[in-house]
Symmetry: C2
């Protein structure tokens, strides 16, 4: 914890940059210094007496590739542009990290897998082009759960990414490195992807904000697919407001302006402008986690929603689409997969096709039901996770196997393609907890507005 | 053979109706007389001495339900309307038959299955509403291969539909009764459905015209689904021109006017206006059938197309979607299926989901390839079937099992959603053969224009 960007918002950074108190080049140097400090974490372990010494010695392992040269050139250009009056907006000169399943031209895209050792991207992914157009400085690539196919973040040829709140615990994934790079203050913003919760899961476990825009809002061209019907590009940042800023910087006001909330069929907030929030009670979850999040929405009426069924639908869709993507690799070189990934693929191949077809019909039914809910309410609220971060390497816990349990409360919103935001909701036994907000497509601003209204979380 | 409408086109019928030489009520009486004559086919069997006497005694079995009362009321109304100057166009007062998987309000929709015994439709299917709006008189429901899930037409709780050219042979299916009702002159026009060839197969086997419009051109609401990504509503009539008339009567000139052929990207025919035709050579087929059809396109250059791969794609899509539709029935009452249908479903359930996903990706590749072909050519030509009609009850022939062999040359155009027309191309050993024409979506008129240009088929 405690990198340069800890406690610094994008607004802070932008103000310092434009006042001349700092420069893009200086911001980048701070980013690299914070990143490098993690590399030498072992050397400072002696400072911590007692049982945690070994644990703190382990590096967080957020990054898999750094692009010092490219980033420095981009930072210099950003400084030059700003000096000559070219201001690309709130991401201008800001150091940003990119998940290692997203192509950045000239850098390896490793997917956390031995299958892609030495694979270098020829062109930028569409979302990276959007980042560069917005003036961002790309510092490097962050660790991912192998092929983004898992929510724990500890399955990768690059080794586990560790949780800054407890280095023996999972960061969450699959956008593990992106979440940890932000949580540890190495960068103020990172790109992730989210197929079943892969932005929100590590955001919740690491105590930061994670935003999954509505399906298709940010193009996935140049992003290695996991399940194209469910894949989303999303953001990890220190706060909901920074997610908003990044989202608007990339898709522009035309796509994400507050005015959209007032689209046809949208609910009209009551006169006092308090958003109407429905509480979705998880079927099973750590009661302390539920209590911490519920405390933020004390007056929200509970509405039933069969998240278990939605997860079944999620699973059928993801299984079939993921196996399609991987079939040839499983055939040719199964030994190159991390064993848990291969095990998942060997399960996935067994899903019969009619279950996939049925899943989409069932999805349509749920979509109608939830559209009805979102006529009566502006927002749905629920915990992001059933639990706090488990120990690295654990595959089963009090809620069954983690592979399904980690996505239990997040994957519904991938199935439905709705915008979803995870924001810090305090801690339970010293570990971060996230509150999840969901709304209609086009009403994303309600998420950020609500996050700004939330009371301070109850101390854990 | 030789019902009232044999040799009478829709233009003939319309002219006689408007000149006062006949009335809708009279036309309907002719239709019912021709239908009733088949019921008493056995009584006239004595006329035929020799070995065919028994065969000719068997009724064709085209219809499963007749709506004498409803049809008579509709015919009377049509006569009244015409007398008072209300002319609904070329289908006004024309007796039309409807396949028994398409809902007609107040009549049973039986699907050829014991599962739907006693099931009566509450409302008209969209295509039936369109027929009625065009003034057509619906005489009844025609036999279908059980659930439209097969191309032979001899698997149904209602018994096999017989080929008028040889009553021991398959009519082809699944729109078996609709094809036979037209081929036997009982009605001049019938509605069918076509998921892998179900309009064109029986058209070819029975020596009439069958037209499958492009995907989605006619809505499938109220039609029992077989495989929603492949299902089409289509027409069976005595000639290509009658298919054109019926198509335009239902979707109107805005959807199907000749001007559409000149849409963006469409090929420009050469100055002499001769459409440019490419010949698609079947990989394996009865050489006499191929020769008969090829003779109609002597100068068309052959272009390669992997119809075998397209059939594999077809099969993966149909398997998964059909099983989704039937899963609950297979679970609850498998014994109500005809054994061949249950066998197909038991195969279909085994198709893994990733194969379904992959099939759509492969379809997109083929669609690009064929779009390229249809920039260089106006039309593709090939036989409709690999063979002439096999004997009823045969499940295997010289080209392997009939279940896949019957759709070998037709299902590609369902996968690609392209308009396809089967027209009579003479006979081989006394049995009808069909030529199949395919074009771009929106260029349907080219199909009908080309059919009008075809030389007279070489006598078989």
């Amino acid at each position: 914890m405690g990198g340069f960007f800890t406690g610094r918002t994008l607004a802070d950074v932008g103000r310092d940059l434009r006042s001349g108190d700092t420069s893009a080049t200086e911001l980048l140097a701070h980013a690299f210094a914070s990143i490098d400090a993690d590399e030498t974490a072992g050397e400072s372990a002696g400072e911590n007496a007692g049982e945690n010494a070994d644990e703190n010695a382990k590096k967080l392992n957020a990054f898999v590739t750094l692009d010092r040269e490219g980033a420095e050139a981009a930072a210099k250009q950003a400084d030059k542009d700003l000096a000559s009056g070219v201001d690309r907006g709130p991401l201008h000169g800001v150091p940003v990290a990119v998940k290692d399943i997203i192509d950045v031209a000239g850098l390896p895209t490793g997917m956390g897998s031995a299958h892609f050792t030495g694979h270098v991207a020829g062109t930028d992914a569409a979302c990276v082009t959007m980042l560069r157009d917005a003036g961002a400085v790309i510092v490097g690539k962050t660790g991912t759960h192998e092929f983004a196919y898992g929510g724990s973040g500890d399955v990768s040829v690059n080794g586990p990414v560790r949780n800054p709140h407890d280095r023996e615990r999972m960061s969450g994934g699959s956008s593990s490195g992106s979440a940890v790079a932000v949580a540890a203050g190495m960068v103020p913003l990172a790109l992730g992807t989210d197929t079943g919760g892969s932005v929100r899961i590590p955001a919740s476990f690491c105590g930061i904000a994670g935003f999954k825009p509505p399906y298709g809002a940010i193009p996935t061209d140049g992003v290695f697919p996991l399940s194209p019907s469910l894949d989303h590009v999303g953001f990890l940042a220190g706060s909901a407001d920074d997610c908003r800023i990044a989202y608007h910087a990339l898709v522009g006001p035309a796509e994400a302006a507050p005015a959209e909330a007032a689209s046809a069929g949208a609910a009209t907030p009551p006169a006092d402008n308090t958003p109407r929030v429905a509480w979705i009670e998880p079927e099973s979850a750590d009661p302390d986690v539920v209590r911490a999040v519920r405390a933020l929405f004390p007056n929200a009426p509970a509405e039933p929603l069969d998240l278990f069924e939605l997860r079944r639908i999620f699973r059928a869709i993801q299984d079939c689409e993921a196996y399609d993507i991987h079939a040839d690799r499983v055939e040719a070189a199964p030994e190159l997969y991390q064993p848990p990934t291969l095990e998942r693929l060997e399960q996935a191949v067994r899903t019969p096709g009619w279950r996939y077809v049925r899943a989409f019909r069932e999805r349509d039914e749920f979509a109608r039901h939830v559209a009805g809910l979102l006529e009566r309410y502006d927002l749905l609220a629920l915990p992001t996770m059933m639990m706090t971060a488990p120990k690295i390497g654990e595959v089963e816990g009090p809620f069954g196997r983690y592979a399904p349990a980690l996505v239990a409360l997040t994957c519904a919103w991938n199935v439905l393609g709705l915008p979803a935001l995870s924001v810090p909701a305090g801690t339970v036994r010293g570990l971060p907890v996230g509150a999840q907000l969901v709304t209609r497509r086009g009403a994303e601003s309600l998420l950020f507005d609500m996050a700004a209204r939330l009371p301070s979380p109850i101390p854990g």
